[in-house]
Every structure is written in C-alpha cells, then in structure tokens.
Amino acid sequence: MRIITATHVKYYHVCHRKLWLFDRDLWMEHTSEAVQGGELLHQTAYPQRAERYREISLGGSKIDFYDPHRRVVHEIKSSQKLEESHVAQLKYYLWLLEEAGVEGPTAILEYPKQRQTLHVSLTADDRTAIQQWLTGIRQLQAEEAPCPPTINKPFCRQCSYYDFCYVGE
C-alpha cells in the first residue's frame, strides 16, 4: 500500500486532482512563490519560540513543532482561506499521535499574519471521519484511478498546479 502523509490529507480537502498528481510525484511546489513565502513565514514567524518544541516524524508525516510535555502540536499557516484543510491536517496529526500512544494531544493552528489562532482537538466523530478520508485517499491512489477533473474554483489561481491544469492548447 502506498504511504499516506498529512499532505495527502490536506490536499484531499482542497482538490482531489491535486492529490492525484501529487501522489504520482508530479510536484509543482518547487516553482511556487507562495510556497517559498510560506517557508519563510515558517522560519521567521516565531523567533522566540521555546526550545522545548521538537520536530517529529510520524508514519511518513513530519510535525514541525511539537511540545511533548504539554502534548501540543503547533502549525503555522499564512492564510485562513483554506482553513478546513488546515484543520483536517492537524486532526490527522492528532490521530497519528494517538495511534502512537500519546494520550489526549491537542493542536494550535497559528495564522501569525492575521494574529489569529485556533485550537483543535480530536472528537469521536473526527476519528470516524478520518477513516473515511483514508479510504477516499486510497481510492485515488489506486493504479486504475483516473485523474479527477479540474475544479474551477477561484482559489485555483493561487495553486501551484494552476498552469499545469489550465494551460489548454
């Protein structure tokens, strides 16, 4: 079975076509200025962040800031536009931590540019939903799965796959 990462979960909530392409190693992020901006924000948003935060790898996913004492995951994002997918990504982290034996982990979603934070925790409903996401992702990963069509959303314009999807003739 192919690996499922938190990026798969995030893309599953943004665009199935993007997930399909990403899963087949057709990456576009290296060309995206938005992605570079995100990385910069990540490096510079919290210069005073305490040393107790650690970067951890779990089941193919990487959590950038994890506080093992308080069992809190931090995730920095630059814009709230695709918040639903950010929350899904964090819930998947929490699920992974639970699977690894951590009790009651929680998460904080941080939008430093908007000075907003959002607390995320995992409910029983979430646990069921995650199983459905994983099934959906596996279906898209299947060898015979055709590439989903473009979704023509306004946020497509900001996506690093925009040129790829809409180049036309």
């Binding site: 087949r24 190693d25 290296h30 925009y162 790829f164 036309g168 003739e169």
Partner: protein, 335 residues
Amino acid sequence: MRKTYYLFNPGRLARKDNTLQYTAYDEDGLPGQVKYLPVEDVADLYVFGSLDANSSLYNFLGKQGISVHFFDYYEHYTGSFMAKEYLLAGKLQVQQTQHYISKPKRMALARKFVEGSAFNLLKNLRYYQGRGRDVAVYIDQIEGYVAALPHAAAVPELMGLEGNIRQTYYAGFDRLVPGDYSFGTRTTQPPQNELNALMSFGNMLCYAACLSQIYHTQLNPTISFLHEPGTRRFSLALDLAEVFKPLLVDRLIFRVLNKKEIQPKDFVQDLGRCVLKEPARKTVVRVFEERLKETIQHRSLKRSVSYQHLIKLECYKLTKHLMQLEEYKPFKAWW
C-alpha cells in the same frame, strides 16, 4: 525570478561563502575585476569563454540546482553540468518510455512536433507575405508537405518531411533578410555562411533554453519522440526546440539583420567555417534573452506569460499527454 547568466570573458568562478564570486581575467591573464552573482538570482549559467572553476563550486551549484551549459570556441554546444535530478516521478518515466517504445504512440507525438513547428514557421512567412514580401510560392509548397504529415507511416518519413519543410522555408528566408545574405543550403558542422552561422548559434541557445525548462519538470530529457534518443544527448530538448525555433530563433535572425544590429563585418570566415565575432554573439544573446522575457497574454491562463514560460507550459502539456490526462497539442502562435 531567477536569471540566466552568460559568461563570455575568461575568468574564474568560485564559491565565496554562500554566494558566487566571478573574477575576470585581463588580457595578460591576470585576475582583474571581481563581481558577485547572488546565488538565489541564478537560474543557470551559459559559459562561452574560458572558465576556471573547482569542484567545490560545482558541488555548490549542484546543491542550488543550477545547471551550467558549455559552448566551445566555435559556439557549438558541447555539454552541460546538470545538478542531480531533483524531481523524479517513476510513473511518468514508465509512461514516457512506453510512448517511445510503442510505434503508434511515438508517431502521434512526433507528428505533433512537426505540425507545431510547421505552423509556427508558416506564421513567420505569412507575416512577411502580409508586409509585401513575395513568399507565397514557399507557403504553398510547405502547406503541401503539411498535408502529407498525417500519411507519414514512420518517424524517418516524418523527419524527411520536416527536412523538406525546413529546406523550402530557408529558400524563403533569402527574401526576408537584406540582400547581403543568402542562405544557399543549410550547412552545419561547420556552418558555411552568415545565415547558417546565425541559425546554428540561435538554435543552440533555443536548445539549451528548452533543456533548462525540462530540467524543472519531471520529464526525462533523454527520452524523445521525433528525434532518436541518443546517449549523452538530451534529445527531448531537440523535440521541443522544433516547435519554438521559428519564434525564438528565426524571428531573432530577421530582426538583427533587418535592423542591422548585426552586419556582414560581424562574421569571420575561417577554413570554410563561418563564425560570429564576440560582440555579435553578445548581441544575439541579448536579443534572445529579451525575447525569452517578452510576455504575451495567454488565452486559457488569462494572464501574461513569458516566452520562456511557454516552453515550461509545453512540458506540462507533454506530461499530461504521457499520463493520459489530455492529448498533447503543440504550441501554435495565436497572435
């Protein structure tokens, strides 16, 4: 936006902390002026002069994903230093190979490249026809060859038609450039007259530009469809260059000759070979760069894109074809 840097003068390029330091050599071969190239700013390097460098520089360039393309004294492309492949996609690689092995699949793609090329070079001829140069006879003749494209049964046949199209096109060239020049026949290795020299140099720049764009996608540059994949040759760049040469190279030739930016005195004849003198080379490179950066309003993307980006878009279209998302349609100048 990263830029292509062209190094014409002899000198030494070195890693200096985390950036690039270029020391030009003067006429006596002594180190002269020192310049810094900010590494984040460099897309790739084209080396025409004699360049000293050491492995620590290449390690650094490799880590930064910067390719270096080399040209010899006679302006021939001789090879590239390519950073380690950083985008690998197994499934695409398998598909690309299958599209080469399967004859009908390969033919379908090869034909598209010739079609695109013919469309774009006809566009050039029609433009000049509209401006009072009489090239109608060549247009008709080329259209005849284009009509035969669907009936070509094998790649060598396509290559033959492509050769005929180009030959006819070159005959038309003579009417589009000042009277001092005549194409005669296309000669390479070595080019024997001014037009041939200009075309060889331009084609090489176009080829390297295509290679640079392919490098930033997941396509494998060695597996091609129209041209035969050759060892140690990035032949996919030759396929793509076919489509873009009429726009990037041929129009450049018309421009520099008609505007007299390059004149007969800018060439040297030497043992049956014709080469551009260095100031003329710089002119061609400058005009080529201007052209790559020039933008047009893209019909489906609804934003302006540079000619350079058009090459990348072509790579995306090819990827989509190979992954069976959407049939490849070659780029055809629509303006």
